[in-house]
Structure formats: C-alpha cells, structure tokens
C-alpha cells in the first residue's frame, strides 16, 4: 500500500484533505488509507480547544462516502446488493460539494492576492479631523405649545380622593404596548422623560409595565445612581457597524 503524505500544516478541513487525495493523479480509491485520514482528522481535532460537532458530522459523511466507494471497488459483485444507494449518486454529491468548495478556495486566493496588491493604497478610517458638526434640526414649532406647557405647570391638578384614584388604575397592557411601540422606533429611551407628564398612579403602572418587559427579556434597564433617570434599551440591539476604524 502506498504511503500517504499528509501535510498537516496545510490541512484546513476534511475537504482540503480529500481534494488533495483525489486530485493526486496516480491515486486509486483502493489505495486510499481511510484510517490515516481519520487519524489525521482526530489529531487536528485534538489541537483545538473545543470539539466542533458540525465539522465532525461533515467529516463522517465524507468518510462514509469514501468508504462506500472503496468497499464497492474492493467487492464489486456483492456491493450491488448491499445497498440501495447508487455509487454514482454518492460520487455526484461529493463532486458537487468539492467543486463548490474548490471555487471558493480559488476566490479566497484571489482575495489574498488583491489584498497584498492594494497594501500601498492608504485612505482615512473614520471622520475627518475638521469635519463640520452634524446639526440637529427641529421642524417649525407653535408658540402655543409653550404657553400650554407653562399653564399646565402653573395649575394644580383637581384634588380628588385617593380612594377614587385607586380604583382608576390604567391597565398595564396600555404601557406595555406603548413602550414596545417606542422601542420599535428608538433604541433607547429615558423612562422618567417618557412618563414625566403622567399622574403618579399612571407612573406607577408604567413602572410595573417596565418591570414586566424586563422580566420577559425584552428590555435592559440602567440607572447611573439611585433616583437618577432610568434608561431603557432594546434587549436585542442589532445595529450594524458600518465603518470601523478597528485595526488588526
């Protein structure tokens, strides 16, 4: 049996190994030492910190396909009755996947070449040193809104009995909906600012709704200090980092 020269340094995955073996012109399937491939793969696994189940699964499928080809070659007559799976099918599937991988390997080689060719192209990462400041603009506003705001501050709410107020708790669901809608539009909001204009009872119910959202894992809460404004942010924040000045 031919001695297999396995280059473990160049070994990046089961596909690399199979490709190397199959493309070696003189190699016949019966000469493939499947055991040494398994050993090479196991050694590779041992060098890693954690076992990658996905890679192991892939490897098993490929080794099985290879073993089947080899078994059918070694036992041509019985093999036809052993299994319903057509060897052509197995080969076709293997060919499809190896071709796909091979094309991407070629693409990776092209990228590597391009990267080194473009090493002398320097450009600025991040904003310009004297970039003009982005201005926050506000649509025209009505002065009546100012008068209304001050009038509200200058008048006491009508005094009603506390017992009556207690009967009129607004439903928690109202605030759940309101905060969810708010978080659909904004990543973060200031709780105090949001409920500042509400009555104390409403504020209390709003706070219950906030705790409910936190319990459900929909929001995260932060507060700089006791009694400081509570900041509410979306739990799954999926902002996409576009331009990063991160260096290698």
């Amino acid at each position: 049996m031919r001695e297999l020269e396995l280059d473990l340094d160049a070994f990046e995955g089961p596909f690399d190994l199979l490709l190397a073996l199959l493309l070696r012109e003189e190699l016949e399937p019966r000469e493939v030492d499947v055991a040494s491939i398994v050993v090479a793969f196991a050694e590779q696994l041992a060098q890693r910190d954690e076992i990658d189940l996905e890679a192991c699964g892939e490897f098993l499928v490929l080794v099985a396909a290879l073993l089947e080809l080899k078994a059918r070659f070694l036992l041509p007559d019985e093999a036809a009755e052993l299994d319903a799976l057509e060897p052509e099918e197995a080969a076709e599937e293997l060919a499809r996947r190896l071709t796909e991988y091979r094309r991407l390997k070629a693409a990776a080689a092209w990228l590597a070449e391009r990267l080194s060719a473009e090493r002398d192209r320097w450009f600025r990462l991040g904003p310009a040193p004297l970039q003009p400041r982005a201005e926050r603009r506000l649509a025209p506003q009505s002065p009546a809104a100012l008068a209304d705001a001050l009038r509200a501050l200058a008048s006491l709410p009508p005094s009603v009995s506390l017992g009556h107020l207690a009967l009129r708790f607004p439903p928690v669901s109202r605030f759940l909906e309101r905060f969810r809608a708010l978080l659909a539009r904004r990543r973060v909001f200031d709780f105090d600012q949001e409920v500042g204009a509400l009555s104390r009872v409403e504020q209390a119910v709003a706070f219950l709704a906030l705790l409910e959202l936190r319990r459900a894992g929909e929001v995260t809460l932060s507060q700089g200090a006791p009694f400081a404004p509570i900041r509410v942010s979306r739990a799954a924040d999926e902002r996409i980092r576009q331009w990063t000045a991160g260096s290698a």
């Binding site: 603009r137 506000l138 009505s142 002065p143 100012l146 008068a147 001050l150 006491l156």
Partner: protein, 200 residues
C-alpha cells in the same frame, strides 16, 4: 527614463509637498511638523517650506480643500463656500417635535428669562439636567452667566434660533399668560407655589 534627469526635473520640495498632501488626506487628526518630518523622513525646515507651498495651493477662494493650522498641527478642511453643501451632507433628519420634558423646560426659560437648572427642577418637580443638555445641543438655549456672580449655578436663556423655530419676532411676542399672572415675578412665584403644593 534617465533617473538623474528626473531628479532634476522634479522640484524636491514639490515632491515632499505631494507626500504631505497624501498624509493629510489620510490623517484623522491634525498632524504636527514633527509627525510630518518623521513620516517623510525629512528635515522639519523642509517640511515647513512644503507646508508653505500647500498653504498657498489649498487656500480659501482658490480650492475646495483648505489647509488649516490648528492647535495640534495641520489638517484639511472644507472651504467656506462649500459650507452649505457640507451641512446638507452631514444633516440629520428633521425632528418633528420636542419631548414633554424639553418643552416644559424651554417654556420655563422662555417665560421667566434666564433660569438655572436647580430652579427649573424645583418648578418641574423633576431633575432638568438631561432636558437642558438636549436644548443646549439643539441650540435652542445657551448659557447666560451665573446666579449671584461666580460660584452660583449656570443660568440659561433662549437663543435667536429658538425665536426662529417658534416663529417669534422676539420674546415679547410669546402668547400672553395674563390669566395666570400679571408679570414675570408673579408667574415665577405662582409656579413655585404650585410645585410646592404638588409635592405635599
């Protein structure tokens, strides 16, 4: 073709200036003469001569790119005649309105005249720090000295931008609040009274 010939043809300071141009367009902070000399491996005196050349080439009225000397060194900026186009490039979407907290804070400052944050907090019954900060950032209010001279709290007043946004010729054209108080002082007292009553 002949390298000696090319050396004579290209003015060496001009060549240095080109390299400095390149460095300045990549830099994200102003570059000092020292940094430029290090990067170009050239003498600081020659770097200064090259910068003089560039200052002339990248001058206001002559180019859209202007070389500016700032505290940390030299940097490119956009020319002044491009400022409108730059503003459009960096503009953010227009906000439709202000938060309730910002609106109340703005109303207090507009009607009562210069106010400090503690004063606004007393009237509103909640801290005013973030509301004031957002109004300053928007340019609707600005600092206006301190209460009782140095050491007192910073006071804030409305800006001309505030008047433009609210379509006011001046603060005198704010809607009248005669039903609440006769003048500014009375209004202030009334607001503080109500705030105290609200707490109790």
């Amino acid at each position: 073709m002949d390298s000696r010939l090319r050396l004579i043809a290209i003015n060496p300071v001009d060549r240095l200036a080109r390299t400095i141009e390149a460095l300045l367009v990549v830099a994200s902070a102003p570059l000092s003469v020292g940094e430029l000399a290090h990067a170009t491996q050239d003498e600081p005196e020659r770097v200064e001569a090259a910068l003089e050349l560039l200052r002339d080439r990248y001058a206001e009225e002559r180019s859209g790119i202007v070389l500016e000397e700032v505290a940390g060194g030299f940097a490119f900026r956009a020319s002044r005649d491009a400022s409108e186009a730059c503003a459009r490039l960096f503009e953010r979407p227009v906000d439709r309105g202000l938060s309730q907290a910002a609106l109340e804070t703005l109303a207090i400052i507009a009607y009562l005249g210069p106010c400090s944050r503690p004063e606004i907090a007393r009237i509103r019954g909640v801290a005013a720090d973030s509301a004031v900060a957002s109004l300053v950032e928007r340019g609707l209010v600005a600092e206006a000295g301190r209460e009782r001279g140095a050491g007192g709290a910073v006071r804030y007043r409305t800006t001309p931008l505030f008047e433009r946004v609210f379509g006011l010729e001046s603060l005198a054209s704010l809607p009248r609040l005669d039903d609440l108080a006769a003048d500014r002082e009375e209004l202030r007292e009334r607001l503080l009274e109500v705030a105290a009553a609200r707490v109790s």
